[in-house]
């Protein structure tokens, strides 16, 4: 057990100040938290759904939760049920086999709700596009409020995208 405590002590805190292109972190963080406080009672709950990604986008979404980015400090957290969510974060093209699941997940989120398409696939159809098996981008199936481009978007880009949407 002491080994573990020792390792924790030596590792310390690695969480980083968050780099924004055009605004100092603290200010922007504070502004966002104000938005979240005003519209989402202090916390923004995200339900993610993969409707046909290659799983690259999920890896970066996981990374956004690691101790370097620590997305929760901005009041943003991932929830298990769409009924607890304010925002639906979608990755991948919408495979036809996931079309109904996406619509039902969307319907299960209480209004008002936001939808963000993460990555080039979800945003524009990416490498897979429309075919017998795929509906293409998310906006072909449900209304989308914002697109975060990239293949995959890095955790930084993901956070910037979310924070920007909140500022709007």
């Amino acid at each position: 057990m002491f080994h573990i405590y020792n390792k924790i002590r030596r590792t310390g805190c690695v969480t980083e100040p968050f780099p924004m292109p055009d605004a100092p972190v603290v200010e922007l963080g504070a502004a966002c938290q104000k938005e979240i406080a005003a519209h989402f009672s202090g916390s923004l709950a995200i339900r993610m759904i993969d409707t046909g990604s290659c799983n690259g986008c999920e890896l970066e979404m996981h990374a956004a939760n690691n101790s370097f980015y620590d997305i929760e400090r901005f009041g943003i957290h991932f929830v298990a049920s769409p009924r607890h969510a304010d925002l639906l974060l979608v990755t991948g093209v919408v495979s036809r086999h996931m079309q109904e699941a996406l619509k039902r997940t969307y319907a299960a989120i209480p209004a008002p709700k936001l939808v963000v398409a993460m990555g080039d696939c979800a945003g524009y159809g990416g490498e897979f596009g429309i075919s017998y098996a795929s509906c293409g981008s998310v906006s072909n199936v449900i209304p989308v409020d914002a697109i975060i481009p990239g293949c995959p978007p890095t955790p930084t880009v993901l956070l910037q995208g979310l924070l920007q949407l909140l500022r709007q």
């Binding site: 080994h3 573990i4 390792k7 924790i8 590792t11 690695v14 993610m48 759904i49 993969d50 409707t51 046909g52 990604s53 290659c54 799983n55 690259g56 986008c57 999920e58 890896l59 970066e60 979404m61 996981h62 990374a63 939760n65 690691n66 101790s67 370097f68 991932f78 298990a80 049920s81 991948g92 093209v93 495979s95 036809r96 086999h97 996931m98 079309q99 109904e100 699941a101 619509k103 997940t105 990416g126 490498e127 897979f128 596009g129 429309i130 075919s131 017998y132 098996a133 795929s134 509906c135 293949c151 995959p152 890095t154």
Partner: protein
């Protein structure tokens, strides 16, 4: 740790004689580059040949189809101690009947159902001929990988959910079903799990996949080589290097291109980096699934540092799009090499410190040890690959057992255990990180000078090739057929998840429902790589 035994015992080079001895008529072909042998059979002998292969302890690896009207060519890949064997037969599109191989290799069952859905091949005397990859996006009478089927298909506005797929139910007092998915609770890909449970105990799990089928094989057709490699890099994002390499290798074998040694070493560097990144992340995630967040914090920290280095030196955190047919598109400067070497020296002591910590921690051991066994017999019956196989002493590792350049110049150690429990699947991955670090430092130290890629000319005739590489999940295949202009006629990627997803169903004896996520994580099959 066991390092001696080698459970795949059969030899593919004697398979032809074994078939002839039991009266099966065969035609031996000149093997495609990379294959040890290649045999053609009459379709009626397809099942019996599998029986002979199973008796002679070959490992079944893949089956795929290729529609060349009016025929459908079927190929299966077998593995022995002396390499790979390609078995070929054909059926007509009018009466595509074929004996099943699944009776002798249980793992063949789902790939055969896939052939049935995609090509309309009907397997005779097969117990399970339910649909597999097809849900409701196309009709039972349509077969997307037949040439006459348009890539756009005939979709309806709203594809219905596939909610009457027949799951066999377990009978008995107190037995109930738990449907889970396709949308799961965490940040994870979609799939459906149907549990038959009694109290907390799982009596039976059946997987139902295919939710992220996006038509990769169909949309590959007609692409040029660069477009194909971009697509291959997205078959499964966590294995982008692996699938890109397999596809490139298939192209290069088909076009008879020899790569410059520097390109080969750089590919291996990328591949080992991908292995380490995934192992780091998954060890943390396995521990996190039993609530041990210390390991998650530490491992995700190491993984993040590793990915940042990827970004800094290779320009992409997951190493996407760094392969080109004939080579690679990144180079390492002297400084880069020094940085990478420094990074290895930083990571190694961290991993060497953390792994024993995890293995000695009683509360973690209590959850992971002696639990969720995949017995060696089951692993062998299944032909499990990668860390799932190795934890159950099924050791096959192409880098050692069927080495391709540059691994033919390296001594690759393969860690293996015989217990096959959850902690061993994790331990194999820990050991593999250290082994990969050794390989990386050798590769960096001996990085040959020279060019990054070679020019090549288009075939001028139809050609085909098979690529086989050992990804972090295990043996990964790419089959390619190209036309005279180098355009894709057929692309088939086989992710190792096809062989390990079924292992998950077999390791749940005595496991309770709340522990399913950690068992799933210890296998970590790719949904995307499987669903295509």
């Amino acid at each position: 740790m066991i390092t001696q035994q080698q459970p795949t015992q059969g030899k593919v080079s004697s398979f032809a004689d074994q078939l002839t001895a039991v009266g099966i008529r065969i035609q031996e072909d000149k093997p495609l580059p990379g294959m040890t042998a290649q045999l053609k059979l009459r379709s009626k002998d397809w099942g019996f040949a599998a029986k002979v292969a199973a008796q002679n302890k070959l490992r079944w690896s893949a089956v795929w189809g290729d529609h060349r009207p009016p025929k459908i060519i079927i190929r299966a890949l077998l593995f022995g101690v002396d390499g790979h064997l390609l078995l070929q037969t054909e059926v007509t599109e009018g009466s595509p009947e074929l004996p099943s191989q699944a009776e002798f290799f249980i793992v063949a069952s789902r790939p055969e159902r896939y052939l049935q859905d995609m090509f309309g091949v009907r397997f005779q005397e097969k117990k399970d001929n339910r649909r597999w990859i097809r849900h409701q996006a196309w009709l039972e009478t349509d077969f997307p990988l037949r040439q006459t089927f348009p890539v756009a298909g005939n979709p309806v506005e709203n594809t219905k959910p596939d909610n009457n797929y027949p799951f066999p139910a377990v009978d008995g007092e107190g037995v109930y079903q738990i449907p889970v998915g396709p949308v799961h609770a965490g940040i994870i890909e979609p799939g459906h799990f149907r549990f038959q449970a009694m109290g907390e105990n799982i009596l039976r799990l059946e997987e139902r996949l295919g939710y992220v089928h996006k038509g990769i094989e169909k949309i590959a057709v007609g692409r040029d080589l660069d477009g194909l490699i971009r697509l291959a890099g997205r078959v499964s994002g966590d294995s982008t290097v692996t699938h890109s390499w397999a596809a490139c290798q298939a192209i290069e074998r088909a076009l008879e291109i020899n790569l410059p040694p520097r390109a080969l070493s750089l590919r291996a560097i990328l591949s080992e980096r991908e292995r380490i990144a995934n192992h780091l992340g998954d060890i943390g995630a396995i521990c996190n699934d039993v609530g041990f967040s210390f390991a998650q914090y530490q491992m995700s920290r190491l993984r993040e540092l590793w990915q940042r280095q990827n970004q800094l030196i290779f320009g992409h955190r997951l190493l996407m799009d760094l392969f080109v047919p004939g080579g690679v598109s990144v180079d390492l400067s002297k400084d880069d090499i020094l940085n990478l070497q420094l990074e290895i020296e930083q990571l190694r002591p961290e991993v060497e410190e953390l792994l024993p910590l995890l293995l000695e921690c009683p509360s973690l051991q209590d959850r992971l040890r002696d639990y969720a066994f995949l017995t060696t017999a089951d692993a062998q019956r299944l032909g499990a690959v990668g860390y799932v196989g190795r934890a159950s002493n099924l050791q096959d590792d192409l880098r050692r057992d069927a080495p391709y350049a540059p691994y033919d110049q390296l001594d690759v150690k393969v860690p293996a255990f015989s217990e096959g429990d959850l902690i061993k699947r994790m331990r194999v991955r820990g050991e593999e990180i250290l082994i990969s670090l050794d390989l990386l430092s050798k590769l960096l130290k001996q990085l040959p000078e020279g060019s990054l890629s070679v020019d090549y000319s288009l075939p001028g005739r139809e050609v085909e090739g098979v690529g086989l590489v050992e990804g972090w999940r295990g043996e990964t295949l790419a089959y390619l057929r190209l036309d005279d202009q180098g355009k894709v006629l057929r692309y088939f990627p086989r992710d190792p998840s096809w062989l390990t997803w079924q292992a998950l169903e077999m390791m749940l004896d005595g496991v309770i429902v709340p522990d399913f996520p950690v068992c799933n994580k210890s296998v970590n099959g790719s949904y995307s790589g499987h669903d295509l």
